[in-house]
């Protein structure tokens, strides 16, 4: 941990202010595409870079706090930056830089929100996420949190002329507010009646077990909604596809991580002594989300919905790691808690990069083909090679395959699971093999999903004649994609450096560092090298060397002749694009194996139907079991008080007055 003072806190505040200013500048000429896309978005990207650079320093610096001259009288905003905040700020800045660059080339004059307004929402969204990460009292936190929710709501509904997008936006707003209420109540429980809502006070107080449990469960609901944990995930697969691609990328890559940040902040920092069963709850919810998310991703036919479900899976893995951290922490097994926390944070970072990369790739595909349905894409590797190769990097990374970054965090997570059998709880020990099996199954399924995604979109024959006119991404978009893809590779090849970065955080939150995990810069080894070790760079170098040697040897000993011919396909003369697997076809085995997960609605044509049509809808059971009954109940209850609705302002004002009087009665 460094001792020198760093300007990370003032830099983050300055970055947030700069983003807001850039957003406001968009209002100068709201209809001007040139201003927004050539000046403001690149400027926003530069701010992101600067923020990342300062935050990188902030990770190693001592925590810094500041009382801002903002807020209500007697209720100023408190800001603080420590290693945990700085790490998430780094993630925000680095991803925002890539996404903003991409967005510079992505904006098009559409029929929805004007470019200037989009620019405003987008940058306010970025700034509010930065403020969430440095907020040091519940008031400031909630203000920033709600600003983030509202800004992202307006971004989701950019194309508000479409009915289904308005519906998705409404669902998102509703869920976001249910979550916000839970978070507010959680802070209320943590301040324990002192009326002092600063995080500093909450750290000092240390409530009893019941209050702490209530606070943890409320936080789990509140942040779980934002993170998209099953069963609170329903908004996510609706809202992410509805938003423009750079916004989907930001929401999935960064906004979900602010929820993880909140969860870590509350249960590892504000509450000093977690109970072991909290960890079990988080672990089980995480595993259910991971498996459910990836199974649903496998049957999707819309590429952005597929990625949204895959986000649920990844957040599930993050929560599983977080649950494991809590379990180890509560039993006082510091080193193991640090290992699990390292895996959790590493996976957050990885997911931020590969998921934003893939969402941006779908954005490019969407622009080039105006098609989101997997059933009408195909063969784009020929028309859009740049996007296709970047997407390949993202797909291999998200499938958790070496030597890219997704593998490293899954490796760490599995290592943490393998070390568990030392737990003092016998039942927990038995849970662990099952949990490890679920993680392994999820990882393998994500490979399946990525083959489906990549193979259907980029490989094969074009499934639609219009795809022949598809064009590759422009220079701005390519730069953004290349930056994110490069980070996926770098984070995969130099895990020791990343773990060095996470060391101050694990030290602060669990009391143990993980610097020993990195044996030099080349090898990664938790605990001792004879237990397990992995060297991504060596791995990559040897594989690359072998591939190159094989290529050279084949050419040296034999020849490199190639003849082009029509595809063979076992001699079948008639071949067209519709003979390839469709997205539904590719998902069929998963539908078959995981049938109980789905609610299937089929309609088969009658035998004598002249125009037969066949539909099969695979739906989320939870939606019908949990959400629709709840919605109906809420509808009925609100129906009871409709007589209060008079539609006249004077009546509503008198309601407010009456409420005030009643409250005064209590306070007085």
């Amino acid at each position: 941990m460094g001792i020198e003072e760093s300007g990370a806190l003032s830099a983050s505040l300055a970055a947030a202010a700069a983003w807001i200013a850039i957003g406001a500048a968009g209002l100068l000429r709201p209809a001007s595409l040139v201003l927004a896309s050539r000046v403001l978005f690149p400027a926003g990207a530069a701010v992101g870079c600067a923020l990342a650079a300062w935050a990188l320093q902030g990770v190693f610096a001592t925590p810094q706090a500041l009382v801002l001259p903002l807020g209500l009288p007697d209720l100023p905003f408190h800001a603080r930056i420590d290693a945990l905040s700085a790490f998430f700020l780094l993630l925000l800045g680095a991803v925002a830089a890539g996404v903003s660059l991409f967005a510079s080339g992505y904006l098009r004059p559409g029929q929805g929100t004007s470019p200037g307004l989009q620019c405003l929402y987008y940058h306010v969204f970025l700034a509010s996420m930065a403020l969430v990460l440095i907020a040091d009292d519940a008031y400031f936190f909630m203000v920033a949190w709600e600003t983030m929710a509202l800004a992202s709501y307006f971004l989701v509904t950019s194309e508000h002329r479409h009915e289904e997008i308005r519906r998705a936006g409404y669902l998102y707003l509703l869920m976001a507010h249910i979550g916000a209420i839970a978070i507010l109540l959680c802070f209320g429980a943590l301040q324990a009646g002192t009326g002092d809502y600063t995080f500093h006070n909450m750290r000092e107080l240390q409530p009893g077990a019941e209050v702490a449990t209530a606070a943890f469960l409320l936080a789990l609901v509140g942040f779980g909604v934002k993170a998209g944990i099953v069963p609170l995930h329903v908004w996510l697969p609706e809202a992410h596809p509805a938003a423009p691609s750079p916004v989907s990328a930001l929401m999935s890559a960064v906004m979900l991580k602010t929820a993880v940040y909140g969860m870590l902040r509350v249960s590892l920092d504000l509450i000093a002594f977690p109970l072991w069963w909290w960890g079990v709850v988080a672990l089980v919810l995480g595993l259910v989300s991971a498996l459910g998310g990836i199974v649903f991703a496998a049957v999707q036919t819309d590429m952005k919905r597929l990625l949204a479900y895959s986000s649920i899976e990844n957040i599930g893995l993050v929560f599983a790691g977080f649950g494991l951290t809590l379990i180890f922490r509560s039993f006082g097994m510091g080193t193991l808690a640090a290992l699990a926390l390292t895996a959790t944070l590493y996976h957050c970072l990885n997911h931020a990069f590969f998921k934003s990369l893939l969402f941006l790739c779908t954005g490019s595909v969407l622009h080039a083909t105006s098609e989101r349905s997997l059933g009408k894409l195909g063969g784009l590797i020929h028309r859009m090679p740049w996007v296709a190769w970047c997407a390949l990097v993202g797909s291999v990374a998200i499938a958790g395959l070496p030597p890219l970054n997704g593998f490293v965090s899954e490796w760490l997570l599995l290592q943490a699971f393998l070390l568990t059998p030392g737990l003092p709880q016998a039942y927990l020990n038995m849970l662990v093999p099952v949990a490890a099996a679920v993680v392994a199954l999820t990882a393998a399924l994500s490979g399946y999903v990525m083959v489906k995604f990549y193979g259907v979109v980029f490989l094969g024959q074009p499934r639609d004649a219009r795809l022949a006119e598809a064009h590759d991404a422009g220079a701005w978009e390519r730069t953004g994609l290349a930056w994110l893809a490069a980070m996926c590779i770098v984070l995969g090849l130099f895990p020791a450096a990343v773990i060095g970065l996470l060391d101050p955080i694990t030290r602060a939150l669990t009391g143990h560092g993980m610097a020993s995990l990195a044996q030099g810069w080349l090898f990664l080894a938790p605990l001792q090298p004879e237990r397990a070790s992995y060297s991504a760079l060596l791995f990559f170098a040897v594989t690359g060397l072998l591939v190159a040697l094989t290529w050279l040897a084949v050419r040296a000993f034999y020849h490199g002749r190639v003849r082009r011919a029509p595809p063979w396909d076992c001699g079948f003369p008639l071949q067209n694009a519709r003979m390839q697997d469709s997205a539904e076809g590719f998902g069929q085995p998963v539908r078959h194996v995981f049938e109980p997960f789905f609610r299937v609605e089929q309609s088969a044509p009658a035998p004598a139907d002249a125009r037969p049509s066949y539909t099969e809808v695979h739906d989320d059971r939870l939606w019908h079991w949990l959400y629709l009954p709840l919605a109906r109940g809420a509808d009925r209850l609100t129906g009871l008080v409709t007589f209060l609705q008079r539609g006249r302002i004077s009546v509503y004002l008198s309601y407010s007055f009456a409420t005030l009087l009643v409250l005064l009665l209590f306070v007085g």
């Binding site: 070496p402 059998p421 490979g447 060297s535 076992c570 071949q575």
Partner: protein, 316 residues
Amino acid sequence: MASLQGLVAQFAVLALTVLLAPMLTGWVNQCRAWLLNRSGPGLLQPYRVLAKLFSKEVVLAHNASPLFRGAPYVIFGCLALASAIVPKIGTDLPLNAAADAIALVGLLALARLFTALAGMDIGTAFGTLGARREMLVGFLAEPALLMVLFTASLISGSTSLATIVEVLAHREFVIYPSLAFAGVAFTMVSLAENARIPVDNPATHLELTMIHEAMVLEYSGRHLALIEWAASLKLLVYSCIGLALFFPFGIAERGDWRGLLLALPVLALKLAAGGFLLALIETLCAKMRIFRAPEFLATAFLLAVLAMLLHVLLGG
């Protein structure tokens, strides 16, 4: 041990494995022929096939992308590395520290991903069918393999393959229930992963029943040769994992030449016995319908999870 001697030993082992892998395929085919009362083509037949394929020109579909052309090299490279990191004749080799059991599974998965993507690249009906089925087999077999390796790592307290082998080799010889379950699961997984009966038939001529062969239908010439060679390497890798986990005897623990040289005939004997057993299983079983493959693999997966649970419960 990153010394020069270690590097030389590692390189020698790698080269030997890669060069001798097709012979194992040849041996299995020969045994199968004997069991079917045929005379068989001999051990060297795979080499003749490879030589033929290498010298033929590549016939490439018009719409083949660079990914299709590059994939055979990537697949071959991955499996060559995998064959180098599985302990075969010695545990003290430099690459053993670079990748552990999880990385090995990741490496095999990477090769599978590229095979499946290449299968989808041309956009033929059989190619995509094969890719889908291969990934179906993969998503159940991969976690099962991982669970088998985890059982061994829980026993030895390490995911490093070298340590696993060293610990398992030094335990007294009794049947551990967890390892027994893991062994059954592993056998099922390796049959599926190597495209063997009862899951897939490597010698089938019926496209509709194919899994692995359907994906590589469009390959020819040197590309096909590399893929066939990689398949041989995969068989060798799986055999060696099985031998290392369940029969870890006779593997040299220090990288000296004498130990390594002594371990070589032991390995050859073990592989010959394993290959014969594989041929026997293939001759005695009938191929399953593809729809029953998930059931078969799910059984393997559950057996492997049970093996882990048994270890936690019984500590053995």
